[in-house]
């Protein structure tokens, strides 16, 4: 058994293998489909509140340092110290340079399926910090995106909607 504590470091080895095979994008879709089992019903039926509730559990169980703020049509998920990338970096096997990409890779299709809109700022692939904003209203998402573009480059922000 790979202990659940060490899953991340196994995952990291899987990413290295798949990256060398050009197979990351297809794998992200499979993770996303798997995560539907855990999340899709709650996200689809309860909207942002469902996402908020899911991440309350995740922040606790995965020992995240950050905050979740739900206000109106916006949910902000800020990760001040991502435990996942932190473990991949604290690793004698070394981190996959694309490690962070799995997160938007599986969440974006899931939010899209749940009718939610996401803006993702990864804040650098070797930095265990990131922030995402999720919306249940397309105009609120577009307004936030325009606001964020005032101090972000377009390529720094990943989105799942037409701006």
């Amino acid at each position: 058994m790979i202990p659940s504590d060490h899953f991340v470091r196994f995952y990291n080895e899987v990413f290295k293998f798949l990256d060398a095979q050009g197979g990351l994008a297809k794998y992200y879709q499979t993770i996303s489909a798997h995560q539907e089992f855990h999340c899709l019903k709650a996200f689809s039926e309860n909207g942002l509140q469902g996402v908020y509730d899911y991440y309350q559990k995740i922040y606790k169980e995965e020992n995240c340092v950050g905050h979740t703020i739900l206000k109106g049509h916006e949910l902000e998920l800020y990760m001040g110290k991502c435990p996942s990338l932190s473990k991949a970096l604290d690793n004698d096997a070394g981190a996959c340079p694309k490690y962070c990409m799995h997160c938007p890779g599986w969440t974006q299709p899931l939010y899209t399926k749940a009718g939610l809109f996401q803006i993702y700022d990864l804040m650098g692939l070797d930095n265990p910090q990131c922030c995402e904003w999720i919306f249940d209203d397309i105009e609120a998402a577009r307004a936030k995106y325009r606001k964020l573009l005032e101090d972000h480059k377009k390529e720094e922000l990943l989105i799942n909607f037409e701006p």
Binding site: M1, P3, F7, Y11, K87, A93
Partner: protein, 150 residues
């Protein structure tokens, strides 16, 4: 002393993602590719355990087995001598959690154990075996190779 100190909350749903990933790699890239990833995990991620085994020191391996199976709430027994570590796991915590979630257990699930353990031992005076005794029940053995005992 453990290289990776883990002592706070557990996210057991990771067993589900591991389970799905075992199937994904085996079905898309073959069982040999899966074995290589698992062996590399054993050898390189657990480099500290591997290097100690290479030097004849099984202390971190023993601590690793005891701590992480204990943390996962496993029922197990450990029998230790100078030349052998024998761990009998009566109910695999990963399988237990997958059953709780209602997810089918990958037919490659036990390769996690056999290949990661083999990776830890690769190129060292130690060798490992895993005997599957039943669903979620196995005996993991780490044994100093005979030629190395002399």
């Amino acid at each position: 002393m453990l290289r990776y100190q883990e002592n706070n909350e557990l996210h057991r749903d990771f067993h589900g993602t591991t389970n799905m990933t075992l199937d994904y790699i085996a079905e898309n890239y073959g069982v040999d590719a899966l074995k290589e990833i698992l062996r590399k995990t054993g050898r390189d991620v657990y480099k500290s355990i591997h290097d100690k085994l290479a030097a004849g020191d099984s202390s971190e391996l023993l601590e690793h087995l005891n701590w992480f199976y204990h943390r996962e709430g496993a029922k197990y027994s450990l029998t230790v001598s100078d030349d052998e570590i024998r761990m009998e796991v009566f109910e695999c915590p990963a399988h237990k959690h997958l059953k709780k979630l209602g997810l089918p257990i990958s037919k490659y699930s036990c390769l996690q154990t056999s290949e990661v353990n083999a990776g830890m031992c690769e190129g060292t005076p130690w060798e490992s075996t895993v005997e599957i005794c039943g669903e979620g029940h196995c005996i993991q053995t780490f044994r100093r190779k005979k030629e190395d005992k002399a």
